[in-house]
Structures are given as C-alpha cells and as structure tokens.
Amino acid sequence: MTEAHIDSSILQSFHHFLYYYQASNLPCGVIVARADLDKSWISKLKEHLEKEEPATAVQVNYDAKKGIIGLLLDGCNLGYTHFYALYVKEFLKEHDRLTGTMIVGSFPENSDDAEQMLFHMIKEIIDNKRDGKEIQVFKNPTLKKTETSSILIVDQDVHILQLLKKYLEHHTKYTVHTATDGKSGLDLYKKLLPDLVITEINLSAVDGYQFIKQIKNMDEQTRGHSEIIVLTNKHLEEDIKRTFEYGVAEYMTKPFSLIELQARIKRLVKVTE
C-alpha cells in the first residue's frame, strides 16, 4: 500500500475532528471532490451551503496542490451526507468548478475508523483518473481481506503466546499477532481483520464470550469472516455448548498438542501458499 505518499492538507485539518468523532462515537459525514477553486470561491460555496442548509455545521478544507476539496458534516448519516453533496455538486457544476468525481461517506456507517475512511476517500479520488462527474458512495477497502493473512491469538499466558507465535509462523504462511486481554484483542482485531482467531475464554477486561460475540458482530457489519478456535482452560460442558452457539469453529482444552492444533487450523484455513 502507498499510505505514506498521501499527505493532504484535508487530512491534517480534519484530523482532530475525526479523532473526536471516533473517540466519542458520534456520526459525521465526509464529502471529497475534485474541484478547481480559490479562496473567494470557497467562501461563496460556504455561503451557498449555509443558505440552503443552515442547520448543518460544516467544515471546509481545500487542498490547492492536489485540487481536492473536503467537507466534514457534523452528526450526519450517509443518506443526509449524500443529499448534502447534491447541493455541493449543484453549486460546483453551475460555476463549472467540478473537475472529477465526488465521493461521500459517513462514520460509522461506512467505516469504523473515521480517519482511515477519509484517507481512503482521498486516495480513491487521486487514483481515480476517470472524469465522470458523479457522486459515488465510499466503499471501504479495508473490509476486503488484506493480502497478507494473519492470525490473532489472545491469551493471558504470555508463554503460550510466545510458543504459538513461533510455532505457527514457522509452520504456516501466516503472520501471528498476539494480545493478552480481551480489550486489546478487540482493538487488534479491528485493525487486522485476521483469517483466524485463537482465544482463551478466561480473559480480563472483556471476557472471552464478549470478545467472541463482538468479533461476530463486527464480521456481520463488515461482511467479513474470521474462523475462531477456542483454546481454553475451561473444561465444562456448558462452556463448550455456549461457545459453539456463539459460532466458534473449534473448541480445544489445555493442555493441548501443537500437532493437533495445527491439524485443526489446517481444516479451517489455507495454511500454505
């Protein structure tokens, strides 16, 4: 990925706002468009928008170098953002300032990471050489599986984490990531969207059941899918029953055999190239 190359003033000026929306889990809409503007045009655009939709708080930033305008709408869902974009389009077209496509997106509808969403939107605008002047809805590329497959292992016991990481990285093509509690496990999961999760049930901060459930919820939202193997100290029937109800693929108890674990992993995901 060419993440490092994209550096736009829009990203910088919206950074704090997006961080705020993300942290307080409030919705916000983002519109990005290729346009040819200057200071006076921007203030005219602002005036126009304020007249049409006075109730909406909007931030505008124009990246003169790349010729991209970004708008950040407070508290707007995707439907409204799209509606709002029509006004922007109307204005830009009327004055013949629109030079390319427009992309609209909304946090958290389109992405669970507001900043990444903006980043990918700008990237798409730059990469998109076609000059069809349509409004597109942002499709989250991070929801597609990344090229390098990964495994996430969550366990309180660092020795087990070390052992499994070494063993699996040696015997499979996967990169192995580890976390020691449910909460950091979830954070890692959001970032990685791994192919396989191996988890203990006895976790702290977020317990194993909540961890599995939230993964399943996330999968549903993003239409992704991760196989889950439970590797646990818990030997009780109720736990086995409950975890399978939650949709895990395998249940293994400690002490465990690496050979067996590897065999079960093989059954679930493609292990080699």
Binding site: Q156, D157, D181, G182, K183, I201, N202, L203, S204, A205, V206, D207, K213, T232, N233, K234, H235, L236, E237, E238, D239, R242, T253, K254, P255
Partner: protein
C-alpha cells in the same frame, strides 16, 4: 493521689504490653502458617483449575448503594473472573443515584417480576429482577433500601449455588481471587464454612478496565497509614488467628461462605454495621453449639483491592462505624461466648481478647493516658518511668509491624520497589505518633454514637476507577 495515678498509669502500660504480647503470639502462628501458604500457592496451578468441572460453583453477591461511578467496571471485571462456574448477583439497595439505570443500560437487562424468588430470609421488598440471556450469569436485583446485610440476604434468596461470596461494590477482585479461595475450600469441603480474602488498598495503584495494572503505594498520608495497618491486621493478625481457628471476622469486602450455614444462623443481621463480624461469630457459635467440626479460614493470596478513605472526616466516620459495630457484636453475641469452655478457642481467647483488648481498649488507654498526664503535672520527677514504658510500647508495636511487613515480603512481594519497603517501614513507625491514638478516639466516639442510638451508616465518597487513566491520557 499521686501514687494512685502512677499505679493506674503503669497498669495501663502493662495493659498495652499485654496486647502486644498476645499479638506476638498470634504473629508467631502467622509465621508458622505462612511457610505452608507459600508452598501451597507455589505448587498450585490456578489457571487449569479455573476451568475444572470439579470446582464448586459460586454465587457472587454484590450489594450496591449509590455506586453509579464504579459499578459498571466492577460488574464487568466480576463477570470476567477466571472461574469455572459463577453467577454475579448485584443487589441495588434502593440507590438514590443512577446505579440501577447504569447497569440496565450497559447490559441491556430486562425486567422480570420477582415472583419466582424464594424468601428463605426475610428482606425489604424486592421490586424486580433484571436479566439478559446474553449475560447468562448476571442478575440484578432491585429492592427497597434496607442496608447492606439486607441486600446480602436478598442475594442469598436469589442465588442458585451452594457457595456464596460477598463482595463490596467498590472493590476490585483479582482475576484469580475466587479460584484461589475455592482451591482452599476444596481441601476440606465438609469443614470449611467461611473463607476470607485479603483486602489491600488500591489508592495510588494504576487501574484500567477494572483491573489493577500496576501496584504502587498511596501518595497521600491516610491511605498510606491504612496500607501498613491492613498489612498488619491481615497478614500479622488474621493468618495467625485462622491457624488456631479463632478468626472473628471475614472482611465484608471479600469472603466466601457456605450458604447452608449462613441461612441456618438466620442470614446477615441488619440494622447495624459490623455484619461481617457478626456472621462469623454466629457461625462459630452455631457450629460449636451443634458440635460440628468446622473451620473458618483466611486466604491471604486471594486479593481484593479497595479504595481507602483519604480524608479525616470519612476515615473517622468509618472507624466510628467499626467501633459501634464491634460494641454491638460483643454485647449481642460475644457476651454469651465469653469464657465458656464449650466455645473452645473462641470462648477462651478470641472473644475475651476482643472484649478486653479491642472493645474496651479506648477506656483503658484514654484513662491511663490521662492519669499519666495528671501524675506528671503533680510530680515531674517520675517522667523517666513513663518515658521508658512508652518507648517500650512503641518499640514493641513497631517490632510487630515489621514482622507483618516481613510476612508480606516473604510470601507476596506485591510492592516490588525497595523504596516502597522502606516507605512502609517508615509508616509502620509513624503510625504510633498520632494515627493510632486517633483511631482509639474514633472508636470511643463510635461507642458514644452507640449509646446515643445514632444508627447511621455514615458517608463514603467514591471516585471513579477511571480517574487515574483519564489523567494519564490528558498528560
């Protein structure tokens, strides 16, 4: 007159020395037992045990009164305890704040009419039970205000398992606290009726996600005093008392009980503080009356972290409450067991020690101190004797405090820095210059409250567990 004052003063000095000597005996037992405890915990594997089907299930009872700030994290961390089968029963004791709502929102609980609840023990009216199948081991009982004991009784009425654990809503249990007590219980399941956990002071520690991340000593004076005080009471005292089966209290903050016997002794007694000591005395009495073989134990490696009061006002109200509860327990239960051979160690040692050297201590100490002052005013030449006595008492007390710190260092080493150790030693000595005396005055004031039939619980303000974390983020 002068001789009389001196004689009484010296008598009071001997009284203090006797306390210390008995304490020395107890701490000797503690040292004897700590070796055992170190071995036990060293050779036990708690993680595998925490998923074993042979471990008995436990109902965790959490009485909550105005705990909206901390309750969410605490319930989360209780649900995440590493234990094979446990249920968490939060009892909202008619809170005036949003405790109930916070929990209902957080866990999306649904209301159920409490018709199915047994009324094994009479309690204030239960308004409803809240439950969500997504959290199959969490229950929330909403009831009219009736005090902590009443809430525990309501929890017992709903509980499904034969072991119950009482936990303060403002305390944080370590992940393995419950399984450590259960391991102890499984050694002799037919004999154990109650096992207490170790209470440590969380002030100053780094806390995140309902867990103590980094153990540090408190920065403020009063919590620091209480830290060494708790170490002395729990490690120096309770380990020793439990060794001779003369433990008189299992801390209300964290303990595990056999439900059957708690019900047999009529549940927790309401209306007065000190219900934690009361239930233990009643259990002793019941078991000895019925000639049943039993044991009440203390499990120092099962740790519960609690917020200590950090102002004089709140600490004072807590200590007055303790004094009041202690007096009530001694009048209500203790008197019947005092020096009765039937009650063995309890009758011969624990109860007499508590009555003579704990409950009555403010009177001996305060009058003794006053008579020494009176004597010094009349005759300045006798100060040397007094000074020597006082010095001996301070040294004796310090020695015992150091012994307790040694126990801590031998078995647990929770405070890893060398600096911390010296700080604790320093405060062990400082305790004798003001703090102890204040404690005695508070206990006396508690007795006065008792006489005036003042029966309020007093205040305890809580701060959110997240406070430390938020500060970190701001920095």
């Amino acid at each position: 007159m002068r001789e009389l004052l001196l004689a009484y003063g010296i008598f009071a000095m001997y009284y203090v020395m006797t306390i210390n000597t008995i304490y020395l005996g107890i701490i000797t037992f503690s040292f004897k037992k700590i070796v055992e405890i170190i071995k036990e915990t060293f050779y036990s594997r708690y993680e595998p045990l925490s998923g074993s089907k042979y471990v008995p299930p436990i109902s965790v009872l959490v009485p909550a009164f105005n705990e909206e700030l901390t309750i969410k994290e605490n319930v989360r961390s209780l649900l995440a305890l590493h234990y094979p089968t446990h249920e968490v029963i939060v009892v909202n004791d008619g809170s005036e704040d949003d405790t109930l709502k916070v929990l209902i929102d957080e866990f999306r609980l649904n209301y159920y009419k409490p018709t199915f609840m047994k009324d094994t023990i009479a309690t204030a009216e239960v308004k409803g039970v809240y439950y969500n199948p997504e959290y199959p081991n969490l229950y929330l009982v909403d009831k009219e205000n009736g005090g902590k004991a009443d809430s525990l009784n309501a929890g017992i009425n709903l509980s499904h398992y034969s072991l119950i654990s009482s936990i303060d809503a403002d305390s944080l249990l370590e992940n393995d606290a419950l399984i450590r007590i259960a391991r102890k219980y499984m050694e002799r399941p037919d004999e154990y009726v109650a096992i207490g956990g170790n209470v440590r002071i969380a002030n100053g520690c780094e806390i995140a996600n309902g867990m103590v991340k980094k153990v540090q000593l408190p920065k403020k004076l009063l919590p620091m005093m209480q830290t060494v005080e708790y170490i002395k009471a729990f490690l120096g005292g309770r380990i020793g008392w439990s060794e001779i089966n003369g433990l008189i209290i299992v801390s209300g903050a964290f303990g595990v009980f056999k439900k059957e016997y708690v019900i047999k002794v009529g549940g927790y007694r309401g209306g007065y503080p000190g219900e934690d000591m009361n239930i233990i005395i009643k259990l002793h009495r019941y078991m000895l009356d019925n000639d049943l073989s039993y044991k009440i134990d203390f499990c120092p490696d099962a740790v519960c972290w609690t917020q200590a009061p950090d102002t004089f006002k709140i600490l004072g109200s807590q200590r007055k409450r303790w004094g009041r509860g202690n007096l009530k327990n001694m009048i209500e239960e203790g008197m019947y067991m005092f020096m009765r051979p039937k009650y063995k160690i309890m009758g011969w040692l624990t109860i007499p020690y508590n009555i003579i050297f704990e409950t009555l201590s403010p009177y001996f100490r305060i009058t003794g101190f006053l008579s020494l002052i009176g004597y010094s005013l009349l005759d300045m030449t006798g100060w040397k004797i007094i000074a020597v006595f006082m010095l001996i008492n301070v040294l004796y007390g310090t020695l015992l405090g150091l012994g307790s710190l040694l126990l801590e260092e031998m078995a647990f080493q929770r405070y890893p820095r060398i600096r911390d150790y010296f700080k604790m030693v320093l405060y062990t000595i400082l305790m004798f210059f003001g703090y102890r005396q204040l404690g005695i005055v508070w206990r006396f004031l508690g007795h006065i409250d008792f006489m005036r039939k003042n029966n309020t619980w007093g205040t305890m303000t809580r701060t959110s567990w997240n406070e430390g974390v938020e500060k970190d983020q701001a920095a």
